[in-house]
Amino acid sequence: MERAVISIKRDAEVTSPTRAAAYALFSQLMASPHEIKSFNIKTEISFECLPYDFDIKDILDQCLAIDDADLKQQYSALFEVGDEGPPAPIREDLFLAQPAKLREDLVRFYEYFGYQLNEEFQWQMDHLSIELEFMHFLIAGEFGADDDKLSFQLGQFDFIEKHLNNWVPQLSEKLIILDHGDIYTKIVIELSKFLLHDFNWQKESISQIDVAGG
């Protein structure tokens, strides 16, 4: 079985740069502030070119107002340390209690599309920031592909369905329950909404037709 795609509404030339930027932004926001000063972000990004109504400028402004030390403390307390593991693991595999094959699936995605992590990050290929970066990577692939945009479009759709949307909404719910009053809860709530928007848009922009011979 093979899937064919009619991307009549996709207009990748226009949507890809902004979508990619949005994923990159979220990737950066969800990276550990111990590894990178993550909120050193230029805020002139415009989300007007997104094919759906979404903006996180308010959250970004709040992020920029937070002291770096506080940011690290908030991040670690939620995602990195805890006596029974972090309260809200920031890695898909951990968050979902290490289901079989999950990490293999991720690696197969990355390997298939040629996305390579450098050594220090390989063990956490399921980190939310890395999964979001991979989405950025796929969108960039779609943007740059001359002949086969379809591969990257389907890759995005499947990856978000099988992975990001499989756990980020739960992560968001978990953080709401934990109620630490931190910036990261707000970011993940927005991320969850964003993923839903993007996923729905992809469903609309990709018509799936089953054809024989696959």
């Binding site: 990159a24 990004i45 029974e84 593991g85 063990w123 969108i139 740059g144 001359d146």
Partner: protein, 913 residues
Amino acid sequence: MKINRRNFLKGSASTGLILQYSLSNEAVAENPYRGFEDLYRKKWTWDRVVRGTHGTNCAGTCAFNVYVKDGVVWREEQQGQYEQLGDVPDFGPRGCQKGMRHHKYMYGKQRILYPLKRVGDRGEGKWERISWEQATTEIADKFLDYATEYSPECISYGSGTQMSNKLASYASLLRLANITGITVPEFFSGVGDLPTGSYMTLGQVYTGDTFASVYKSKCVMIWMSNPAATRIPDAHFFWEAKYNGTQVIAVSPEFTPTAMHSNLWLNPKPGTDAALAMSMVQVMLKEQLYKANYIQEQTDLPLLVRTDTKEFLRREDLSLYGLLAVADNVYYMWDQTTNSMVQAPGTGRADKPFGRDRRKYGSLELGDIKPTLEGRWLIDTLDGEVEVTTVFELLKEECENYTPKKASEITGVSPDVIEKTARVFADAEPGMIYAGYASCKWLHGDLLQRAMLLMLALTGSTGKEGGGLQIANSPNARGITQFGFSDVGPAFRLISSTTWDYDHADMKELNQKIYGNELAEKFDRYYKKSIEEDWFPDYSQNGWKMGIFAGNNGANWRATGSTWRKTAFEELETIVSLAPDMGVTPLFSDYVLPIAHHYERNDLMLQSRVPYLQVLNEAVPPLGESVDDWEANRRIAEAISRRAKERGIKPIQDAVDGRTIRRDYAKTLELYTMGGRVNNSKDVAQFIINASHGVPKISFEELSQRGMVKVEGVENTMWDTDESPYHNEIVKSVNKKLPYETFTGRQQFYIDHEWFIEFGETLPTFKEPLEIEGYPMRMMMGHARHGIHSMWRDDSLLLSLQRGEPDIYVNPDDATQRGVTDGDLIRVYNTAGEFSAMAHVSSGIQPGMLFMYHGWDPKMFKDDKNFSEVIPTGGLIKPTSMAGDYGHLGYQPLAFAPNQTYKDFTCDFEKSA
């Protein structure tokens, strides 16, 4: 263009999140993606397969292949390349479900990935992630404060079972401790694993052979042990031996997986095992099933004892010369041939170190002497005429207290079964007792071991291939100590964790609360006497200020864990844990340093029963910011040096056991790295290989490729040659007639130290285990099938093979009486505390007892209270295990030290509200 992740993050920040991967479509050019099935069309491949094992204290040392792809360990597989040694089954393949699960566990939520600093109360679980530099600098400053204001002895660096088995890691700890003068509380006695009864009798605790020796036994009694569950890679030796005709007899109060496979199962009431052993001795004596030649030559049973003083007849009893030359320690026996008293061969020349000269010059050869075992004689002494008899005679008298009928009343084992078992064992040539470490965890475990050794001596089994007491052995580990002491010489402090606890964790008060003032005062009096007499060291003069715990989950396994945490931890000003996984000990620490797991480090394993040196390779880089123990200690050493220089701290004069050592903390790093000659754990491992006796001289790189290599001197299933890296002193005594390293130079069953006379323990005997009045249930614990101590105990898959949560076995009758059904949550309680666990109703458990596999972390229980809440035995230090000034008795690190006990208590249970 290839963008790495870090550049991506930086780039996306600085360039306004433009498309970073603009040329990334090459990968799908030839393989268009049309669905997730396409991901799975390509064969999964490995980047490399690495040799490795699990550096934990299961004694398995199993050779594994570790499969790596993209910097991740995905699976492991048994290496299985063990050759056959002689005419016994081989050691491979080795492994168990825990090791096969480690590729998942190492990425689990329990991993500690970053240096942590406590920000809430101890145990609250509130942490701040900090840098290594901040962590080590703050630790170093506190270290220097304590070392210079008080003494380095007030800083303790406790290693645990996970640490001590990895040779390079332990050597690193040893070196840091030796350089700095901090105190190392050893865990061997601290976890109650030290066979002190073996040491009392043989002058050795290292009596075990390779696991294959089981196959050579004609009758093996598996006593207080459950190898079918706890020695998974080696349990096959028992069953292969059984199919080869060996009688396999299990002795345990509960019906274990081992008992299930044995020819015979004896189930004495908990804690009555010594009565069972003494009864079998009684049968052997009564029916004259003993090997007279063996006991005449190898044991003290023919030695003469004064009946008036209960002391051995010594030369000082007979002449003024002897009185002046007390150190000669000449003992006597009665010669049948001449019908006269003669000096026992091999006695005399017992100058310190006790017995060693005797081993060099003396011999147990009897020559023309035919020692009499039975009889009484009148002897002229400086005190006048006194009666003397033999130890053998006294033993016969003692054994009359343990006829099978009397022993049956104590143990619950039928007299017929006792007699039958004694005969079977006596008929075996040789017989073996494979005893678990549980035999050391009773207050009177020493008496049980002495009784076991008596059974083995009477049957001539000790020192024979396929015979003897199999509890412990250990490599001589010269490479480790040489690494620790190189350039600086031995200058460190080593004590028992048991005494560390007693000094520091208010254990006398606990004894008073649980066992009453009389016992508490009595035990305390003997403890203090031993310290005052300098029989045992005491480094607690300044109190303990700082505790470092490496590979040591002491707050879990300590008897009276919660009390210990409250007392010991509250008084420590600074607590540092070095650990790969979060558990109760790191949880209560002030600083936690992340340590690499088994597949993330280079190291060596050399265990007691498996004749192979095994490698640990760094298959993948340590996760997060974790590092191996060598590197963690190097960073601490670097910080101590740096801060000592910055603070202008002058060298101190440190008095260690009568010597003065100059400690220049500014040079800590230089000394630690041997002036830069040793830079990583591979270097340490190579040093150990080069310096260790009996280990093939091989490069670490070659060992890394091969995985494991057989040690030298393995001609049969015993450690019986000097070429091997293991202790073989007992075999030498049996085969070469060299005197034992005991006061009498023989297997010593009679100890006439004044404390032993006072406590009625001159001979092996049975003493009732302690109980808490009003609490009828005796709670037993044992090693688990699905965890090695606390490691892997919380693994989700392994939990799914059990009941998913801590469970405790109860007898159906006891359960019914309390309205408890299988699966109920029950509250177990006594005057020490309480905890709750799921009732596992089983007819394999005797009425009146509870059984629980150990290792469960408190966090897995209701209210964070685990089994240690009801175990109040941390202060039960047996006085005789701190006796000294008696030949071989006196503090010997890792040989003679007081065990922490775990068994002598009772409790009750009810259905949880």
